[in-house]
């Protein structure tokens, strides 16, 4: 009975195409793999291996009709990989472990995915994996790649979210691109306006495996070190209206005041406090600048000597060694961005306590006997501190001292050996030796680490300070002046201090001649500067867009307000802007989707044809008149063109109403209309 009762149409319907399982799975696989690629490059090899295996197995299962793994097997696998991640990272907290967990769970989800819901969930996880990558990836290349992947994932979202058969990849890609382009204004406005917080909501876990580079917190002249020999960028600085001389570019880092005869280490009993900077008297004109510090694996920050004020994270403070740093937090693994004001002329003369006085003059009793003897002879001549400093500098100048990056190794009494035998060294040797001479003379002295100089990017007016610009100098305490910076290297290799840039290319060899080894063509150098400038602006305005820049922007727009007021202004703006863009979008889409006569291309062509007939005195087509009836009527008016009119109408009916009409039918209609030229 059912056979007879089935309607004719359903019996005649074309057989449905086979389920597009494999093509949907392929879409999902491509997106999952592409989205996790940046993570996979960084994670231990077993994680991408697991993902690849899961994808390969699942695709093979779809093609061969294998059974999917049973529930207990899936649960067991999930537990196993969870334990593996925990074993590898020791935690599931933090960006790295979290990303690893996300990727392995994505692999397992892919393994068991069987319906549309699973595939959509996988697309969503892919978005989140890309988000996790963006927490650590900063390079424009990586970001460009991820942006392309977001697009592809959106194509997948549209394809896999479809109920009916998949559309062509091209049409869907265009549609996804349109959706993303329409989302772009919203993104830009929210990016600029959404209130940024100066600190984290919860702890930012440090990542133990993050590479550290940069200055170390101790210094042993005589041991060959690779300190500061790399071209890696330490930080970039953009000055405001005034720029200091190259010889004033001392970027202050930690002070080393404990000396055991060979090694200098950081001071003990460093105090923290907001008021340290207030004990320094600043004179002259201030230099205002914005610092963009690359991660250095420590909580140190650097500032032009001598900083007076700064803004940035709340825990950016100055310690009693006049060093800036995030001393209340874990070592910093991300970029630090802050503004500061410094004065080149200052006096830091907070009186020393008695214990400090002792500590800053301490020398191990049996160290450097020859240096002590030398200094004792100077003291006999003139015991005034300034005279001692002058004698020390004269000694380095007068003797045959050479500045070199490859000094010979030193033995048990490094300072004596350096001062009296090898006389070759770089900044560390000089700073250490000079501090020892001053201490031998009874003057409080210490070594300061930091950077000196920097390369001016002429294309965009900011300085790049590299690890190769790392430097060490000496500070001596004078009763009437406080801490005084003395850079003994300036006595030996003045070029090191005033030329400053491309230090690695200069090696002040014997005789103090600067041997330039500048290699490479000029244009290469220009290109490198241009690339660095692009990087700089990317970092300054996109990566570094934070509460400070936001406040500067608001000030510029005329909203001067306190922090909480600013947040509420911004939130109101966010809501207003979202509503406004939403409204604009709604109007735009209503226009795009408006009803149009002749939305069908064939109908449009035929309407044009009717207009042409009308010019030949065929009365216009009535709304109720079918195309065939109209054609018959037109043929009576234009009898000699009857055959052509009939042909056009036939093509039109075919192009418009045939269920399997394609582009060729439309092309034929166009061709016939174009060829229609009645006499």
């Amino acid at each position: 009975m059912t056979g007879a009762a089935l309607p004719l149409r359903s019996l005649r319907a074309a057989p449905r195409s086979p389920p597009a399982d494999v093509s949907r799975l392929l879409w999902t696989a491509g997106i999952v793999a592409g989205a996790s690629l940046p993570q996979c490059l960084k994670l231990a090899i077993w994680i991408p291996g697991l993902l690849a295996a899961a994808i390969a197995w699942r695709l093979a299962a779809a093609m061969h009709g294998w059974r999917l793994p049973r529930r207990w097997l899936r649960l067991g696998l999930a537990f196993a990989v969870f334990c593996a991640v925990l074993a590898q990272f020791g935690t599931i907290n933090g960006v790295e472990a979290g990303s690893a967990l996300l990727v392995v769970m994505m692999a397992l989800k892919f393994l068991e995915s069987q319906n549309q819901r699973d595939q959509l969930v996988l697309i969503m996880i892919s978005y989140f994996v890309m988000f996790a990558s963006l927490l650590t990836e900063r390079s424009p290349f990586a970001v460009g790649y991820l942006l392309a992947m977001v697009w592809i994932a959106t194509v997948g979202l549209l394809q896999l979210g479809r109920h009916g058969p998949l559309l062509t990849a091209r049409a869907t890609a265009a549609l996804a691109g349109r959706l993303l382009l329409q989302a772009l204004p919203i993104m830009l406005l929210l990016f600029v306006l959404f209130p940024r917080l100066p600190g984290p909501l919860w702890g930012v876990p440090s990542s133990p495996s993050s590479a550290t580079s940069g200055l170390s917190d101790s210094m042993s002249p005589g041991d060959i070190t690779n300190l500061g020999l790399s071209d890696e960028v330490a930080f970039r600085v953009e000055f405001g209206s005034r720029t200091p001389d190259p010889s004033q570019l001392y970027w202050r880092g930690p002070a080393l005041s404990r000396f055991d005869g060979k090694t200098w280490t950081v001071s003990q009993g460093i105090r923290l406090g907001q008021n340290v900077a207030e004990t320094i008297e600043h004179r002259g004109e201030p230099f205002e600048y914005r610092m963009m510090l690359e991660p250095n694996g420590r909580n140190w920050a650097f500032a032009l000597e001598m900083p007076a004020s700064w803004s940035g994270p709340r825990n950016l403070v100055m310690n009693s060694d006049y060093q800036l740093g995030l001393f209340y937090g874990a070592p910093r693994v991300s970029r630090l961005d802050y503004r500061a004001t410094s004065y080149a002329t200052y006096s830091a003369r907070e009186p020393l306590t008695e214990s400090q006085r002792v500590a800053f003059r301490r020398l191990p009793p049996d160290s450097s006997p020859r240096t002590r003897a030398l200094v004792a002879s100077w003291l006999d001549d003139d015991p005034t501190p300034s005279a001692i400093i002058e004698r020390g500098m004269d000694y380095l100048r007068a003797q045959e001292f050479f500045y070199t990056l490859t000094p010979p190794p030193l033995g048990e009494q490094p300072v004596d050996e350096f001062l009296f035998e090898t006389r070759e060294g770089f900044c560390e040797h000089y700073a250490s030796a000079f501090a020892v001479m001053m201490r031998a003379a009874g003057l409080p002295a210490r070594v300061v680490l930091g950077y000196q100089g920097g390369e001016l990017n002429r294309l965009s007016r900011y300085y790049i300070v590299r690890q190769a610009d790392a430097h060490a100098w000496t500070e001596v305490w004078l009763e009437d002046r406080g801490w005084l910076r003395v850079d003994p290297v300036s006595a030996v290799a003045p070029g090191r201090v005033s030329l400053s840039s491309w230090r690695t290319s200069f090696d002040f060899g014997r005789g103090g001649r600067a041997q330039t080894t500048l290699a490479g063509a000029n244009w290469l150098r220009e290109a490198a500067l241009l690339w660095d400038a692009a990087n700089y602006y990317w970092n300054a305005w996109v990566i570094g867009y934070g509460p400070d820049v936001q406040r500067a922007l608001l000030d510029l727009l005329g909203f001067e307000a306190s922090r909480t007021e600013r947040a509420s202004i911004l939130l109101i703006l966010v809501v207003a802007v979202t509503l406004a863009t939403s409204l604009a979008l709604s109007v735009y889409l209503a226009w795009r989707y408006r009803p149009r006569a002749g939305a069908d291309p064939a109908a449009r062509c035929f309407a044009a044809f009717c207009r042409r007939l009308r010019r030949r005195n065929v009365p216009p087509r009535a709304p109720s008149e079918g195309p065939a009836a109209y054609a018959a009527r037109a043929a009576t008016t234009l009898p000699h063109a009857a055959a052509e009119i009939k042909a056009v109408v036939e093509s039109y009916l075919r192009a418009r109403y045939e269920p399997d009409a394609d582009r060729s039918a439309l092309a034929e209609l166009r061709a016939r209309i174009a060829a229609f030229r009645p006499a």
Binding site: G161, H163, L201, G544, Y593
Partner: protein, 322 residues
């Protein structure tokens, strides 16, 4: 429990929409004021993910994290507008439904016309639990959705309220509207099993010679619902894809009367089923027949129109007119 609550909520909302929108004609244009939109569960999950991304970005102060968060948030907003516009301005028209016998499924054809120059994707139709396969409507084109509704009883099946919805793009949102058009389809009584011979009009023994395969082949005609499958010309179907019925010139084509009173031993519905069977048998045998029901009768005649009229009388026998 939540399912029951959702069901009651939906019924309440549907009732509210019906009062608000009023009844629709057989052709209706979906205007802005009657299109409703809510996030799907997947859309809610997507929103939660974007919120989690926002918290993560705030915590890590990650600018690029913010960028992706806002891009995806914007994508959600844009998808909402596209989802809404996917229905907006769609022209729905009831394109007919062929009568069926009780127990079979009615196919309601609803044509959707798109007068804009943007394609409409994944338009779904739902009537209670019954859904149509989603359709795409090309710019300036029309596509018909086929809504299959199973039947149990004879009478009218009224498509009193169906939902037109879409979850395109990306299944983040579901935009829908309820349509209350008077789309109806007749359901004939389920024919009884063949076997009981046709009564003869002359009131003789009632064992009028039934049509049999040994009668002369007389030709083919279009098959109609209710025709016995064993008489379909399947070879012709394979050739032409047209369902044709083999007709035979029976020897005794004397007219007969299909009479309610001839079956006093059967319950009313069973009686109607048997009468329907007789009507079909008579039409199949190309015999002229009449129908007599309490309160109405149709004169003896022949042909598909007559058959349809008789079946309609049977379908609507003592059915309160709606």
């Amino acid at each position: 429990v939540s399912g029951a609550v959702a069901h009651r909520l939906e019924r309440w909302a549907a009732g509210w929409a019906r009062r608000r929108q009023g009844p629709d004609a057989l052709a209706v244009v979906l205007r802005r004021r009657r299109i409703y939109i809510l996030p799907t569960p997947f859309g809610a999950a997507f929103g939660t993910m974007v919120f989690a991304m926002l918290l993560g970005s705030l915590n890590y102060g990650a600018s690029l994290g913010f960028a992706l968060t806002f891009l995806l948030g914007g994508l959600g907003l844009v998808a909402m507008h596209h989802c809404h516009n996917n229905l907006l301005g769609l022209k729905l028209r009831f394109a007919g439904a062929a009568p069926v016998f009780a127990g079979d499924s009615v196919v309601f054809r609803i044509a959707a016309g798109n007068e804009s120059s943007s394609p409409r994707y994944d338009i779904e139709l739902n009537f209670g639990r019954h859904g149509a396969a989603p359709i795409d409507v090309a710019p300036g084109g029309t596509a018909a959705a086929q809504l299959l509704v199973p039947t149990q009883r004879r009478g009218w099946v009224v498509l009193d309220r169906f939902a037109v919805s879409t979850r395109y793009p990306g299944r983040l949102f579901r935009a829908w509207t309820w349509v209350h058009m008077d789309a109806r389809c007749l359901v004939y009584p389920q024919p009884a099993r063949p076997g009981r011979p046709l009564p003869s009009s002359s009131g003789s023994d009632g064992t009028g010679k039934p049509d049999s395969g040994d009668a002369d082949f007389a030709g083919l005609r279009s098959a109609a619902p209710g025709d016995p499958p064993q008489r379909i010309a399947w070879k012709a179907y394979a050739r032409t894809e047209l369902l044709l019925l083999k007709q035979f010139a029976g020897g005794d084509a004397e007219p007969c009367m299909v009479d309610w009173d001839a079956l006093p031993e059967l319950a009313p519905e069973a009686r109607l089923s048997q009468l329907a069977r007789w009507c079909l048998d008579a039409a199949e045998g190309s015999r002229a027949f009449g129908l007599r029901l309490p309160g109405c009768s149709l004169p003896i005649a022949q042909g598909p129109r007559h058959l349809a009229e008789c079946l309609e009388r049977l379908a609507l026998f003592e059915v309160a007119s709606q």
